[in-house]
Amino acid sequence: MTTLLVEEKEIVVPGQIIAEGLDYLPGEDVLREGDHLISTKVGMVTLQGRFVKVVALNGPYVPKRGDIVIGKVVGVGLSGWRLDIGWPFEANLSLKEATSDFVEKGTDLSKYFDYGDYILCQIVNVASVKIIDLSIRGPGLRKLGLGRILSLPSPKVPRLIGKQGSMITMVKDATNCKISIGQNGTVWLSGEDPKLEMLAVKALKKIEAESHTSGLTDRMKEFLEREKNGL
C-alpha cells in the first residue's frame, strides 16, 4: 500500500518521510530508504507521474551541460579564458568556442575578453568538478555591457524566468530593462531609467522571496503596475 504522507506543494525538510510504499519513485532531492521516500532538502513536494521530487528552496549551483550561465572573467590565458561561474572551480572558455576569427598565436586575448568582463555563455561539457567547458557559440550568447550584476539563489531561477519566460518578460516590459539570467543565479540588468532599474531589482528580489507561494504571477503584475504608478 503506497501512501503519500504530505500534500503537493507542501514544504518539507531534510529527513522528512514523504511517502510510504514502493509505488512512487524517488525524483530529485528525494531518496529511498527501504519503504520510505525521504526528502534531502528544504523544499516543496512535487509529483511528476510516478516520481516524487522536492523542489529545493535553496542550494548551491551545480553546473550541468546545456545550462546558460553568466560568468566573470578571472583569468586570461594564451588559448582561452577562465570564468568564475559561482562554482568552487573556474570554468574554461577556449578560444575556438569564443570566436571563429583566426587569432595569431601569442595575441593578447584580453582585447576580446578582459578581467572583470561578464559573459553570457553556455556549458558545453562537464567532464569533472574541475573541468567545465563553456562556449559563446549560440544565439544571444555574448559579452555583456555596462549594467548591474545581481546574485540570486540558483534554485529560484526557474521561477524568476517563469513558464516560457513569462515572468521575466513581464518584468522586462514593465521596466524597459534588458535582463539576462544565468542558471547559476547571476543576473545582468540594464535600463535607461535608474528608477525603473531599481524597480526591476525589487521585482526580482520579490519573486525570489515569494517563489514558493501561489498566485505570484498575478501579484507581481499588480506590484509592477502599482510601483510604476507611484514613480
Binding site: I11, V13, P14, G15, Q16, I17, D29, L31, E33, I38, T40, K41, V42, A56, L57, N58, G59, P60, V62, P88, F89, S128, V129, K130, P153, P155, A209, E210, H212, T213, S214, G215, R219, F223
Partner: protein
C-alpha cells in the same frame, strides 16, 4: 546529599526553555540560531568553495569543516582569550563528526563546506547548541541531508539522571557526570557521544534513552524554524 529537586526547579526530564531561528546571517549560504537556557549559538554555512591547501581536497566528495568559537565575552567568568584553543578545536572536530554521517557531499568533490559556530553567551551545553544550530544552517543552505541532527547533554547530578544540565549542575558538588549526545532521530542513530565523569552501564542506558527523547523534542522546533522562514508568503 540526595538531589531531590533541580537547582532551577525543572523536572529531571525537562529541557530548559529553548528556541530556534533560521536565516539569521543573510550573507551566508545558510544560517541559524539556537538558544537553550542562557546558551546562545549562531551557525553560518559558507561554500561549497575550493579547499586550500589542495592536499586536503577529497577527490570523491566535499569536505566538511566546522569551526566552533566562543566570543570573548561569552564565558561565565573571565574573558575568554580570542582564538582557537585545544578545547575549541576538539569541539570543532566532534561537531563535524556529529553532522557528517547525515550529509551527502558527493557532488562537491575537491570543495569544502565551512560551518562557523559562534557562542554569544554560554551556560553549559554549548557544543550541543552549536550542533543544533549547524544542522539547521546546513539544511537552510540546501546541502543534501538524510536527516536533521539534534543534540543535547544528559548527565548524572547528585545521583539522578537528568536532561540538559545547566552550568550549576555541571559543577554540582564537584563531580557531576556530563554526557554530550547528538541524534539523527528518524532512525535513532547516535552521532555524538562524549562523557566526562563516571556511571554504570545501566545508568548510561537510561541516560541515552533520556537524551533521545530530548533530541526528539528539539527536532520538532528545528523543523518548525526551517519551515517558518517560508511562512506567510501568500498575503501581500
Amino acid at each position: 546529599m540526595a538531589y531531590e529537586k533541580r537547582i532551577d526547579g525543572r523536572k529531571f526530564d525537562e529541557l530548559r526553555p529553548f528556541e530556534a531561528k533560521v536565516g539569521v546571517v543573510p550573507r551566508a549560504a545558510g544560517s541559524a540560531m539556537f538558544k537553550i537556557g542562557k546558551t546562545i549559538a549562531v551557525a553560518a554555512v559558507h561554500g561549497p568553495r575550493e579547499l586550500y591547501p589542495q592536499v586536503f581536497q577529497n577527490p570523491t566528495r566535499g569536505v566538511l569543516r566546522c569551526n566552533y568559537n566562543m566570543l570573548p565575552f561569552s564565558g561565565s567568568g573571565d574573558r575568554v582569550r580570542p582564538g582557537p584553543s585545544r578545547r575549541s578545536k576538539e569541539i570543532s572536530l566532534v561537531t563535524e563528526k556529529a553532522l557528517l554521517p547525515l550529509l551527502d557531499l558527493s557532488a562537491y568533490a575537491g570543495s569544502v563546506i565551512d560551518v562557523y559556530i559562534e557562542l554569544i553567551q554560554t551556560d553549559a551545553g554549548t557544543r550541543c547548541a552549536g550542533i543544533c544550530a549547524a544542522a539547521m544552517a546546513l539544511a537552510d543552505a540546501g546541502i543534501p541531508m538524510k536527516d536533521l541532527v539534534s543534540s543535547v547533554a544528559v548527565g548524572r547530578v547528585g545521583g539522578k539522571i537528568v536532561l540538559d544540565l545547566n552550568k550549576e549542575e555541571e559543577d554540582y558538588e564537584g563531580h557531576a557526570t556530563d554526557i554530550a549526545t547528538a541524534f539523527a532521530t528518524r532512525n535513532g542513530q547516535l552521532t555524538l557521544l562524549q562523557m566526562d565523569g563516571f556511571l554504570t552501564k545501566e545508568e548510561l542506558k537510561k541516560a541515552l534513552e533520556l537524551a533521545k527523547k530530548g533530541c526528539e523534542m528539539i527536532k520538532e522546533v528545528q523543523i518548525k524554524a526551517l519551515k517558518e522562514k517560508y511562512k506567510g508568503g501568500n498575503n501581500e
